[in-house]
Symmetry: D2
Subunit: 135 residues, 4 copies
């Protein structure tokens, strides 16, 4: 399952050179991840309730920038979970302004549940969660 | 009691015109408020424990901008609680780069405790809290 | 002429209490201003070309917060220029999540052209610009 | 030459779980890069004048997160240029709160000058620039 996230780039996203200040792309990758969850009828809050997790924090984030983008342009991000580990997952992102590729990135996230001592710990991702993305 | 907060303005704080994008000043006002709390041996977490509050949220924020500032400059903000209401307080801020006035602003914040039904509600600010700033 | 700006609040917009960190509302007010310009077939870049201005910077910003909002909610902002001065204008904003009022705010902005010495200075707002919003 | 950048983490840097929202680390990496330039008596503006570059934009950014950090903590980032390519450089970062490692990251940046047609293009990094960091 692939999700689409769109945002119109605004003045405040850009730096002195009139192009997007790069940390903002990570904010949008995180936003695109939430769209992906939403498309699977999930959210961090829903996952806390349904699966009892603490959260799904980032352990690695990466982006390669191939072209710049500026305010008034619409950035479209395609997001997909491309790899399932035992306790982690990898979300991949590709950003475009119309047909112009802007960046490619990924996030590695960990399924943070509770260990046997009750403290937050990486735990096995339930099949019921994975299935929600199997379309 | 007046507190001093300092920050060096960086590239990512500035917009296409090379000057600070204005919402950032509110982020720094909020940061200066935390310095003010720290100078009074307080923090939001400490206040939750000592006074049982939910938080001290903003009900109004204002800034008037008198000059622009750019990256590499050091912004100094003076912060002081200038008015105590029954359940609210007003923090005033003045920002400078060296001797150049940059902005003046204020935040009105409410003391959010628990009402008789246990739900978050504006409650009377304890004298013990006010005293911490009486220097 | 009134414009509508919509944004879905995301995880990264919220603080430890799970509600929007307030400076973000000013970022969205600035974004709503750009929507207002766009609805009048304008943009800061277009205005630089058509009217030769340096920019349209903020001289004052204000917001009063009436209710909190959280991630996954859709924030709708109504924006309108409500007052025209000789060299400045006042934009007013009202934010809602569905029918729940979230905040009211305003920005005072100045028409920054070039003075007789060629340096940036507040100058008279052209009627041609005002007319674009007269619907 | 290694530079040290320090920042106190504030309320507005943290998410609902009370830990730093990860894109902020990239903002701080970028800030640490500016400290590195400053320690070498450089800045983006100075480099534009001295070397005629357009800028020194990011082509790749990466961070691996090993522990979380929260408001009131002081984050210290060590920054160093660890690899010089013909037209690019790689800056490496390590973040700590006291002795606790928080993250490791890098930025790949390109030396963006002007090509023979006058348009922005990756060009050879001058030895005079590299020497400034050779301590």
């Amino acid at each position: 399952m692939e999700s689409q996230f769109e945002v119109r780039i605004v003045w405040g996203d850009c730096d002195e050179q009139g192009i997007v200040f790069y940390p903002k792309y990570f904010y949008w990758m995180d936003s695109a991840f939430q769209t992906l969850l939403r498309d699977a009828s999930q959210s961090v809050r829903a996952m806390r309730e349904e699966f009892g997790i603490v959260g799904i924090p980032i352990v690695e984030a990466n982006a390669r920038f191939v072209a710049s983008a500026t305010h008034e342009e619409i950035l479209r991000i395609e997001a997909e979970i491309r790899r399932w580990g035992e306790t982690s997952l990898r979300v991949e992102y590709r950003g475009f302004c119309e047909d112009r590729p802007i960046f490619e990135g990924f996030e590695a996230r960990v399924w943070l549940g509770r260990g046997s001592n009750g403290r937050p710990a990486a735990t096995t991702i339930p099949e019921a969660f994975k299935k929600k993305f199997a379309k």
